[in-house]
Amino acid sequence: MNTNKKTARIVGILFITATVAGILSVVFLRPILDAPDYLIKVSANENQVIIGGLFELIMAVACAGIAIWLYPVLKKHNHALALGSVSFRIIEAALYFVAVTGLLSLLTLSQEFVKVGAPVASNFQALGTSLLAVRDWAGQLGMIAFILGALMYYYIFYQSKLIPRWLSGWGLIGVPFWLAVSLLIMFGSLTASSVLATFLYLPIAVNEMVLAVWLIVKGFNPSAIASGSAKTDINEIK
């Protein structure tokens, strides 16, 4: 199989892996973490929490992997933006790791809380609130890094025509919606689990799946690949 076709397939699979792992982590964790008695629920559902955390780690690795695998193809068209997208998506992964650390620390706290008889209005609640806040904010900051990284590779896709422009243009339009959600959450005007946030996340979530299928089935546009290679050759001669 030609290298570029293989790269496109791997990137497509990574997009699907990141999305599926992200959705599964929400399915496993949200009912527990959103409950008013979350400290008791976290302790009672240890395995579910650990599995949710593992899915978040898989998502983090897949997110960084997307940009790393795309880098050799994209750098031929725009070295700075290709490197920028790798850097931002690695930072995104690092921040998701911090979020998982917050989750596992919450698990330890909840077990201690239950061990001492789940006292009402104790320091455990304040510590739990802070660990949840650390986890949520790490996730939010990871989203910002994702937005910047994604904007960079969608721009290169658009300029180079490596994928059809309707698909890259859709990505360029959809990503700012995520930025709007993140800013609204940071200023306390919206919660990540609200209907509006889910609605605004949708264009990019769907776009990523269409992009994944496109890359697996069709791959990159061969004439855009050839023009990228020609550009690199000219730069090397210079």
């Binding site: 850097s87 911090v98 650390v134 790490a138 910047l148 940071m186």
Partner: protein, 231 residues
Amino acid sequence: MNSDKNTPRLLGAAFLFVMVASILSGLLLKSVVGSGSISDILVNISDNLTLMRISNVVGLVTSMGIVVLAVLLYIVLHKQNKIIALVALGWWLAEAISLAVSKIGLFALIPLSLEFVEAGAPAASYFQTLGDFLYSGVYQQGDNIHMLFYCLGGILWFYLFYRSRYIPRVISVLGLAIESLALIGMVLLLFAVSVNMFFFYPIIALELTIGLWLMVKGIRDGSEIKTENQT
């Protein structure tokens, strides 16, 4: 992209942008938290939530600006020595991550401060311990570690500038000296030694100088550039 004449000017603008954003974020935070005890800090945060959030967002913009700056430096300097440039890029990515983590500590202080005030701001309670952990621990130590990574990366970038002669060597040598001085200051701080701020103030003058120089003059054309292939 490497041959793009606008890249060095963009790099100069990025230096200035990151410096201004970093100072602005620090000033905004100082205006919110003040200089009292941790109880005062918690009450001040709950009284100035919007300003606190603006300070955090500007801090986050600084963190993301550092990534853009590091990538532009790599693009401009990697032909001098790819391995050193990659290591410097890695240090500055670590710097951006540490800064973002330190800001997570500040974001997490917001719900804690609200709970503290709601509980009637009790003296000598677990709120102070937790507030201290988030402010002096996560935020301030994260900030110190970000400076450590900044100095380590900065020394390598200025070494590559020195090799390249892209900018006057006097600026590169000053850069090496100022970053090394700040690195010594940071190491002393990590060992809880009291350090005068004059270890760090020259960084502002340095970033202003290199930012303006690159924006106005760009990099020297036809300079004696030693590329990896030649060495």
